[in-house]
């Protein structure tokens, strides 16, 4: 009898023929890795052939649910997609929220792992009747949203769809998997799915799962819902993550023109803050929807707000895009397609973001790679004089060429900035904005030193969701131009918190409502599973998950030099608005990495010692 919230098994599907087997998951594995990113890591160790090309048929692609999925706990309708990344060659795990998580789990499995390659473009269907393939006729070339709509029409009620866009079909190495307008975005999971000849995976609920203590879960859900309406989530509820843009610009933390600056003179046009005339809580610019003069001096036009499935925060802010369309807007896509590329026109940035959604591209990697290419063009390293910083038309053209892989430049940029810089040479690797091949998010490491460490050592690469060390930099507790032991401990703490939240799974936008997070999370997990989990146990679990990712990466070819930052960030200082210089030197980064390795129990090269590896339960 599995613990509450679990089925105690994963479904392993061979995409070659749709055949499937159940892989039992013991309580020890589930308690040790929880679900989501943690359990996905364990599954990759077990089912991903060592050294396999991420786009080869043998590679494993795991959709992993969690014990909390299906409970009334707010933000719990999430799942992780885990695979070896075609962009980094290392582990990647991308989380997303939607009804797909609930329907997928209620097929009766804690995870669905796909291996093999279908003979022709197909859709993988999974429900109470098991797994089977269906021809993807009529879906080729459609956007993920179009494929979703068409499939649900075709399949009928109850089906939920995760699909790829044209970029995933063509193997762009930062293609996404999308569902209900949400994206498992980072690391090229859409390319992995495309390589399996799967346009979509469709799931339908077939059973139920119960928590161990329904009354306790219900009480916890009520409490958490109330707290989710409070000030800790106000930013997400009222403005969404785009609220970061103007604040980051003010503190020189907004990467601009491929990290050549940390402030952007066009930021005010792209920010989401309320205008002076906006009433509290009212969508900024709503008064402009009829074509009258804008109430808000800023130009982005927010028209609605919505939530992920099972979420009470409601962080999704919908903006009007050209042509009558609407699009969800987040800080990261505006940063990557706006300041990073030097583009200040709001309509162009929104159009570029919508184009990424249509093509199925990770906006951060797309923007980062294009920004790198713009600098290469500026320096004469690539023959594309049209590709200029600040040119909105060039940005859109580059996205189209990448999505279609229709030109040599598009095909080059479809590989990501690391591979492209190796091909172009000329020293362009020094300013290729990636770590381990994953393009950098919108957090300037030179002015956020704890985040610099988090970006350097994280298993997924340059990543703000697996390392939230920027929280410490922005807390006021650390020197933003420093970097020492306190920064190391802050980076570890946020990495551990992320490991648990990404595995239980709870949305990180909820993190501010917890005052004693590990203990509170242990209480939630205990109520759902029936286990007597403690905060200390969850801290050990977090460490286990972080180290298991590192061990996987070691197996797949990680080298010590991969835990590092682009040379530009270590050679070119920034000047803060105060006049103080923010310089991240190689020696300071090295010292923080050494401190991180020591605290994590790694050797001087960042490798886990044998005793630690044995304790991970991966054998």
């Amino acid at each position: 009898m599995p613990a509450g919230g679990y089925f105690g098994r994963a479904l392993v599907v061979d995409a070659a023929d749709g055949s499937a087997t159940a892989l039992p998951l013991s309580d020890k594995v589930l308690r040790g890795y929880l679900g989501g990113a943690g359990l996905g890591t364990w599954l990759l160790h077990r089912l991903g052939p060592p050294g396999a090309d991420p786009l080869a048929p043998a590679a494993a692609l795991a959709f992993v649910f969690s014990p909390l999925v299906g409970t009334p706990l707010t933000t719990s309708a999430k799942f992780a997609v885990v695979a070896k990344s075609p962009l980094t060659g290392l582990l990647t795990d991308a989380l997303a929220s939607s009804q797909f998580a609930i329907a997928g789990k209620l097929t009766g499995y804690d995870a669905i792992v796909v291996t093999g390659r279908a003979a022709r473009p197909s859709v993988l269907l999974i429900d109470g009747d098991g797994a089977r393939l269906q021809d993807a006729a009529g879906l080729a070339g459609l956007t993920a949203a179009e494929a979703d709509e068409k499939l649900r029409e075709r399949l009928g009620r109850g089906w939920r769809v995760a699909a790829i866009g044209p970029a995933g079909e063509r193997g762009v190495r930062y293609a996404t998997i999308s569902h209900d307008g949400r994206h498992a975005g980072r690391g090229g999971l859409g390319a992995v799915m495309g390589a399996k000849n799967l346009k979509a995976v469709a799931v339908r609920a077939a059973t139920k799962v119960s928590p161990a203590d329904p009354a306790a879960v219900l009480a916890a859900a009520r409490d958490l819902r109330e707290r989710s309406f409070g000030p800790a989530t106000a930013k997400y509820r009222e403005l969404g993550t785009l609220a970061n843009l103007l604040a980051f610009n003010a503190i020189s933390a907004l990467p601009t023109r491929n990290f050549q600056a940390a402030t952007f003179d066009g930021a005010e046009r792209l920010g989401a803050d309320h205008g002076d005339e906006s009433p509290a809580g009212a969508p900024a610019g709503a008064a402009d929807s009829g074509g009258s003069a804008p109430a808000n001096p800023r130009e982005l036009r927010r028209v609605a707000r919505s939530s992920c499935a099972s979420c009470t925060i409601g962080c999704e802010h919908i903006y009007r895009v050209g042509g009558g369309r609407k699009a969800r807007v987040e800080y990261e896509n505006v940063f990557a397609l706006g300041p990073m590329c030097g583009v200040a026109e709001p309509d162009a940035v929104l159009a570029a973001s919508a184009r990424c959604d249509d093509l199925g591209l990770d906006t951060i990697s797309a923007g980062g790679t294009i920004a790198w290419a713009m600098e290469c063009a500026q320096r004469g390293l690539i023959d594309a004089p049209w590709l200029r910083f600040g040119d909105a038309g060039a940005l859109l053209r580059a996205l189209d060429e990448i999505g279609a892989m229709s030109t040599p430049l598009g095909s080059l940029l479809a590989q990501g900035s690391r591979a492209a810089s190796r091909a172009v040479g000329g020293g362009s690797d020094a300013f290729a904005p990636h770590v381990k091949g994953l393009e950098m998010p919108g957090y300037e490491p030179r002015t956020l030193p704890a985040m610099a460490l988090g970006l350097a050592v994280n298993a997924r690469g340059a990543d703000h969701n697996r390392s939230g060390a920027y929280e410490a930099d922005l807390s006021g507790d650390l020197d933003r131009a420093g970097g020492g032991a306190a920064h190391v401990m802050a980076a570890i703490e946020t990495e551990d918190r992320a490991a648990v939240m990404d595995s239980m799974i709870l949305c990180k936008f909820l993190r501010g409502v917890f005052t004693d997070p590990f203990t509170e999370w242990a209480g939630l997990l205990s109520a759902v599973t029936g286990w007597d989990v403690t905060g200390d146990e969850l801290r050990a679990t977090a460490r286990r998950i972080v180290l298991a990712k590192r061990v996987y990466n070691l197996r797949e070819g990680w080298r010590p030099a991969d835990d590092w930052l682009p040379a530009r960030l270590l050679e070119e200082p920034l000047t803060l608005a105060s006049g103080r210089e923010a310089r991240l030197t190689p020696a300071r980064l090295r010292a923080m990495i050494d401190g991180y390795y020591k605290e994590r129990g790694l050797d001087l090269d960042g490798r886990p010692v044998a005793r630690i590896t044995d304790d991970l339960g991966l054998a």
Binding site: A243, A250, H464, A481, G512, L576, S578
Partner: protein
């Protein structure tokens, strides 16, 4: 004045808390408070080092010696000030420290001669002078002039000080060196308004009744700046001073020309 100078109130802070905060902001380094042995001090921010003056009644050189001795080995240079300068500006501190130049290359002391007077207690010293200062005290040569006679001193008159554009803009009259020696001085200082600073709110902090655009207010502390725009400076809010130092400490002192950005404490994705 009936109250130790360190504890005198000025726009919601004490003179000592304000002085310590201004020095911490300007230097980014450790701040040492030298007190008479056992003297009660008003509240200080965490990290402030307090040392007892081993020999009371020996005048400023003794205090300088005690402070430089504490800092020697931790910092190459130090700004030394009395606690009764309510208008001391971070830009003044920075300007004077800059005059010392690189380690080993410049003078030993940067001595302002501001508003017509030498300002040995608003000056920059190399911490390596600790030994010399100790010797002078033992020899009972207690005036700063004896110290200056035995080391390299660069004097900064008003014009030299005001070559710094930030200082010239924010403290053009060099009020930084105005001290409070008498009850009348103190009353005059209290009559002066708090510094004018610019406040800007970001993100969800902008609500009805609170400005979205930068606003000039009078405020001597971060808490007062928040209050001036109707903002409660609680655990959900942080402040960034001049786009640089981020703090949750409401007692951080502000100086004329400062910009204070208030942001959600959960800034980030």
């Amino acid at each position: 004045m009936g109250t130790p100078k360190a504890a005198l109130e000025w726009h919601g802070s004490t003179l000592l808390r304000r002085t310590v905060g201004i020095l911490a902001r300007a230097t980014g380094g450790p701040v040492v408070v030298v007190r008479a042995s056992g003297q009660d001090l008003p509240g200080l921010p965490p990290g402030t080092v307090v040392v007892d003056d081993p020999r009371e009644g020996k005048g400023p050189v003794q205090g300088i010696a005690a402070g430089l001795t504490e800092l020697h080995g931790q910092a190459e240079t130090a700004f030394v000030t009395s606690t009764d300068l309510p208008f001391l500006h971070p830009a003044f501190v920075s300007r004077v420290l800059t005059a010392l130049g690189a380690p080993g290359a410049g003078p030993d002391v940067a001595l302002p001669v501001a508003r017509g007077y030498q300002q040995p207690l608003a000056a920059a010293y190399r911490t390596g002078l600790a030994e010399l200062a100790e010797r002078l005290v033992k020899e009972d040569r207690l005036r700063p002039a004896f110290l200056f006679a035995e080391c390299a001193v660069t004097r900064l008159d008003d014009a030299a000080l005001l070559t710094d554009p930030v200082l010239a803009a924010r403290d053009p009259d060099l009020d930084s060196v105005l001290n409070v020696n008498t009850p009348d001085d103190y009353r005059a200082a209290r009559r002066r308004p708090a510094p004018e600073v610019t406040v800007r709110l970001f993100g969800a902090l902008v609500k009805a009744g609170r400005p979205a655009s930068p606003r000039a207010v009078r405020a001597a502390t971060v808490a007062a700046a928040a209050d001036a725009v109707g903002l409660l400076f609680d655990r959900h809010v942080t402040a960034a001073l001049n786009g640089d130092q981020i703090t949750r400490d409401p007692s951080i002192p502000l100086a004329a020309g400062d910009t204070v950005f208030f942001m959600s404490a959960d800034a980030g994705g």
